[in-house]
């Protein structure tokens, strides 16, 4: 039942509701078999993009080309796309087997084949014994797997998933991430996955697009986006970021010297001179020292305002100036000394970790 997923190309696609531009002109290509995620805050246009792809939201402009065929204008029931909805939308009046068989029955598949494919799908999600139950009698995770099975049973060109894990509790959500990923690998489907949870997207995706205000801000692999954010929005949406406002940038031997608006200067390995930028430093890049270190690029004196120990890591909040508090994170080592609230410390990081990103 597995096959290669399709390649999807969005050309100039946009959607306007009256005066509101839910989705600005967007072009994007998702490769066959790729696990592609879209993340962004609510109202960023990601759900609209999903609706436009599924076909129940007519786009204002543009084309969606799936395996060389423009599907814009086709109703959802002719597109052959599978979709998993946020609350699964399993039909409450049908059994699990009837739910999974529904798309096949709509396609007038012979009865024996329906039964066979439903059985295979149930085996794939390991819920064979639930075939005759109603969705209401299943747990959230089980419903989730049935919804996946139903969306994939007819070998759709691609699978759309709209925050499929958001209704589950945290532990189950992490287990289901592996499950979804494995499901996709077995079937070889192209997946367009929408979520507001950046950690979830990073764990599963080949590539991620970050959306804000109806447009894609950046596309890249999870590592790419984290290590090379192009904009302040990306830097702070994906993981934690310490952001500094720039006063003046001047050339420097190893890149650029930057005067911040907070009373201290920094060195970056990135040569720059763009207007409208700010500095982003990731919490893991920051090191804390009791004595002023030597030979470090950026050293600033500060005071610990908050120290927390969470499973596996230490997290400090350090006040560098009256209006600047940064976050620092290190993996905790057994028995390591901890700084206490009020301690004087020196924060430092390398010039390579002083990222210059567009300020939005």
């Amino acid at each position: 039942m597995s096959g290669q997923g399709a390649r999807i190309e969005y050309v100039d696609i946009s959607k306007r509701y009256g005066q509101v531009e839910a989705l600005r002109r967007t072009s994007l290509t998702i490769e066959a078999g790729e696990f592609f995620s879209i993340i962004g805050p609510s109202g960023s246009g990601k759900t609209t993009l999903l609706g436009v792809t599924a076909g129940y939201v007519p786009p204002t402009t543009g084309q969606i080309i799936i395996d060389g065929r423009n599907v814009v204008g086709e109703p959802p029931f002719q597109r052959n796309i599978g979709m998993v909805f946020q609350n699964y939308a399993l039909f409450p009046h049908m059994t699990v087997a009837q739910n999974i068989g529904f798309p096949l029955r709509m396609r007038k598949t012979p009865r024996a084949e329906v039964a066979e494919r439903v059985r295979k799908m149930l085996a794939l999600v390991r819920l064979e014994e639930m075939a005759e139950r109603k969705p209401g009698q299943l747990s959230g995770g089980q419903q989730q797997r049935i919804a996946l099975a139903r969306a994939a049973v007819y070998d759709p060109l691609m699978l759309l998933m709209d925050e499929p894990l958001s209704a589950l509790d945290k532990n189950l959500r992490e287990a289901m991430q592996d499950e979804v990923k494995q499901f996709q690998t077995v079937l070889g489907s192209t997946v367009l996955y929408v979520t507001h949870d950046q950690a979830e997207a990073a764990a599963m995706s080949d590539r991620i697009a970050i959306m804000n205000h109806g447009r894609i801000v950046q596309i890249g692999s999870p590592r790419d986006l984290y290590e090379h954010p192009v904009a302040r929005f990306v830097a702070s949406f994906l993981g934690e970021a310490n952001i500094f406002d720039i006063d003046k940038v001047s050339p420097h031997a190893s890149g650029s010297a930057i005067a911040t608006r907070h009373g201290f200067s920094l060195v970056s390995a990135i040569a720059s001179g763009h207007e409208g930028q700010c500095i982003c430093v990731r919490p893991e890049a920051v090191m804390l020292h009791a004595q002023r270190p030597t030979g470090h690029d950026n050293v600033i004196e500060g005071r610990i305002v908050d120290a927390t120990y969470t499973a596996g890591s230490l997290r400090y909040r350090v006040e560098l100036a009256s209006d600047v508090v940064i976050t620092q994170r290190t993996p905790s080592v057994r028995g390591a000394e901890m700084f206490a609230e009020g301690d004087r410390v020196f924060a430092s990081w390398r010039a390579e970790d002083t990222l210059l990103v567009a300020d939005d």
Binding site: P58, P59, T61, V72, G73, E74
Partner: protein
Amino acid sequence: MQGTTGRIWSPARGYFVILSLPVLFLLVFFVWPMAGVVLRSFEGGEGIFSQYLTVFERSSYIKVLLYTLQVATTVTVLCLLIAYPVAALVARLQGKWLQIAFALILVPFWTSTVIRTYAWMVLFQRKGVINGMLIDMGLIAEPLRFMHNNIGVHIGMVHIMLPFMLLPLISAFRNIDPSYMRAAGVLGANPIRAFWHVYLPLSMPGVSAGVALVFITSLGFFITPALLGGAHNMMVAVLIEQQVTITVNWELASALASVLLLVTAALYIVYDWVSRRAGGGGVLD
């Protein structure tokens, strides 16, 4: 620029087609007849307003219009005064008692108006149940006349309209969090002040819905006034029917109906606007 999309499939277009069938039916069999009534009201005289001049010049017709307004007002006030305390109590019932009370309120809903009016005719007879009871109790010596006068019409109409007042009031009362009243008590408000400043304002959506429903429906009442009312006190719907069936004056009947239509529609629009502004849903929601 529209891109390359052309005519795009959209759910909204599908639902438009689905809605157009019933709307078409109602355009032919509801809007057209209504428009026909209004158009006919301008015919059959010299000058297009001649029917309306008749309606508003002859004192007997003005009397009917005023009587209709007066009955609708009285019935609405009586319904509100009776229904308010009853709804307040019923809204606080739970479980079986609530179901019983609801069943008793809904039973008349399911009983034909003709039948309920007939029941009052039986009860109101000279030698009927009510007169019999009153004489037996020694309250009166001679049987009272209930029919063909104001009393019968009011008792009968209040009986029919009461559920329409009770249901919105009960639903409004059930939406009031009882902790508000308790909070007011804790803060030192005596029961009357707590009622006046907390309960009454919070129940206003139910009051306005009930009052609008009862008043507007009462304006068009036909069966009860026709059977229990007298020839001297006629409501407008009865007059319209008589103009058609007895006098066969369709134009005058249409003018009277147009006046009734205008008043009813205007009241609904005002009510819809007011309740929308007050933050509640309108008639259509």
